[in-house]
């Protein structure tokens, strides 16, 4: 399936990637080519095949409900782009 500029804009928005007006066409072209490769999948009938989510055919291991972590705020926030009073700061979230 070929993607157009509107598709690219929609996907870029969902993925939170700024794509300039002048890049849209190039993205549409490259992504369409990749989708062309992907659509070779359609050559095979997969009706009735169980999807495989994971190579491991096992159940989830569960851990004991214990507090094992200590406060490392200072270390973690030393690498934050913007933090103050123990909080990460971002532009105002509009509800």
């Amino acid at each position: 399936m070929a993607l157009n500029r509107t598709d690219v804009e929609r996907i870029a928005h969902l993925a939170r990637l700024e794509v300039g007006e002048q890049e849209l066409a190039a993205y549409a072209e490259t992504l369409s080519r990749i989708l062309g490769l992907i659509e070779q999948m359609n050559a095979i009938d997969t009706d009735g095949i169980a999807p495989m989510a994971h190579p491991l055919d096992a159940g989830l291991r569960l851990r004991a409900d214990e507090v094992t972590e200590r406060d490392q705020r200072e270390r973690f926030q030393a690498i934050a782009p913007s933090a103050q009073a123990g909080l990460y700061l971002v532009p105002k979230v509009i509800e």
């Binding site: 990637l17 700024e18 794509v19 990749i34 997969t46 095949i49 291991r61 913007s82 532009p91 979230v93």
Partner: protein
């Protein structure tokens, strides 16, 4: 001294013929002398020498392991406490990790020396190491060529003897393909064998870390350290780790080698095909039997992978939003712009392409046609291997369709680049162990890799098969000129 293997150096260190400090200095100097390869993103001389001193003390006290004092390079995808961990992305160009990946911790506990962090494709997305924010790595066999990817820095470092050994990660071929293109030994273990904790995720159901070394014996020594259950990784398998070094010498008499006809068709370079054929001849001499097997859905591995891996990646890379760490755009009007600009500027072109493909494949209305379809194909591809392994012990074929290609020759055509992993990807989809070992050179003197694929958790057999081959051949001992 820089020509010696892990096993040889380990002996020398334990006999105090050399010290880890001396050895480490030799390698640090070599890295500096060959910086034009761009194999490393970060080298911390002081840290390395401090670790070497500690290793020497440990060796003196007689409490060393096989890896104590051995200088090792780590792919820059493993979080390393207090050290820059970039994943070769602008997004993490300033990210000093506040914790150690399990793999890093294990090497630390074994007493090995961390020489530095190797260059790679950005977020492990690429097959040529050209997507790195820190520039491409050059192939020591031919500097006009790529070393393969994504573990290109580790591959080049081992091939050029800038490290005794290195680690890599492999999501669709990222250990085996660069190993093949640089003439070294690379092993991707079974999914679940090595902990993924602290290894920056690309595609969680496919990623697996493994050793990149000069020989199968060295790979066994590294895997002994890397493998094992980790309670911090829910996909790590709780299964005992054998001593991989102890079974290397088993005879190959009666070994059944399966050759998938699909791996020898159109697209395989002639030089590669010839080298693989002579390698098989060598195995016949070692007592193995060769038989044909079929992996009928192989051709769908690439399309299937390019849905699943980008889908998982699009979600795994959502955490890079400029809020808690990593790159934040210098200017933005509001929250939306902060996200969109930080991510657009922080990620390179290939990463963005894959995020977009993955986002699309998971989006409403397309999930069934892409993601679900790919998961079903994954089942078919995996079943192909199950059937093949009913009649053979290992599967062999080329690791890559061609030898190293020239820098820039495929950068404009992502689809052509994706085909570099045509023989390796299905192994990740099935979660099986796979290896690439040196098996000759093409007419341009560029290395060729033989791929060996094993049954689930059969790493010991792969290493045994590779080691016996390396006892009978010397491809793995060849070193590029000038190194």
């Amino acid at each position: 001294m820089h020509r010696k293997s892990v096993a040889e150096l380990s002996k020398a260190l334990n006999k105090k013929d050399i010290s880890s400090c001396e050895l480490t200095s030799v390698y640090l100097d070599r890295i500096q002398a060959h910086s034009e390869l761009n194999a490393f993103i970060t080298v911390d001389r002081e840290r390395a020498l401090k670790q070497a001193q500690e290793a020497d003390a440990r060796l003196k006290a007689g409490t060393g392991t096989a890896l104590t004092g051995i200088p090792i390079a780590q792919k820059d995808i493993f979080c390393t406490d207090g050290m820059l961990t970039t994943c070769a992305s602008r997004m993490l160009a300033n990210f000093v990790a506040p914790y150690d990946a399990t793999v890093i911790r294990k090497f630390g506990e074994a007493g090995s020396v961390l020489l530095g962090k190797t260059n790679m494709d950005e977020f492990a997305m690429g097959s040529s190491n050209e997507t790195s924010f820190f520039g491409p790595v050059r192939n020591p066999w031919d500097r006009r060529c790529v070393p393969g990817g994504s573990s290109g820095g580790s591959a080049a470092a081992v091939a050029a003897r800038l490290a005794v050994a290195a680690t890599g990660t492999d999501t669709g071929g990222s250990i085996r393909q660069p190993a093949a293109l640089t003439g070294i030994t690379g092993l991707k273990p079974s999914y679940g064998r090595v902990s993924r904790y602290g290894m920056i995720a690309f595609a969680s159901s496919l990623d697996q870390a493994g050793p990149m070394t000069r020989s199968a014996e060295d790979a066994a020594l590294l895997l002994n350290v890397m493998a094992g259950f980790d309670p911090l990784d829910s996909t790590s398998v709780d299964r005992p780790v054998p001593d991989y070094a102890s079974t290397l010498d088993r005879p190959l008499t009666g070994l059944r080698i399966g050759l998938p006809q699909e791996y020898f068709g159109e697209g395989l370079g002639t030089g590669v095909a010839v080298a693989i054929e002579s390698a098989l001849e060598e195995f016949r001499k070692l007592g193995a039997k060769i038989l044909e097997v079929s992996l009928p859905n192989s051709s769908l591995a690439i399309p299937c992978y390019y849905v699943l891996a980008p889908a998982e990646a699009s979600s795994n890379l959502a955490r890079y939003d400029g809020v808690r760490y990593g790159y934040r755009a210098p200017e933005y009007e509001d929250l939306w712009e902060m996200y969109a600009k930080s991510r657009a500027q922080g990620f390179g072109a290939e990463v963005k392409r894959r995020i977009m493909i993955g986002t699309y494949a998971l989006s409403a209305g397309y999930y069934d046609a892409y993601y679900l379809k790919a998961q079903k194909l994954r089942r078919l591809i995996s079943s192909d291997f199950d059937r093949a392994f009913e009649v053979c012990d290992v599967i062999m074929g080329p690791a890559a369709p061609s030898t190293a290609f020239e820098l820039g020759s495929k950068t404009d055509d992502p689809v052509a680049m994706y085909l570099s992993d045509i023989y390796t990807i299905s192994v990740n989809l099935a979660g099986l162990p796979g290896m690439s070992i040196p098996a000759g050179f093409d007419s341009n003197g560029r290395p060729i890799g033989l791929q060996i694929i094993g049954k689930y958790f059969d790493e010991a057999r792969l290493l045994n098969v590779a080691h016996k081959f390396q006892q009978a051949t010397d491809w793995h001992l060849r070193v590029p000129e000038g190194f």
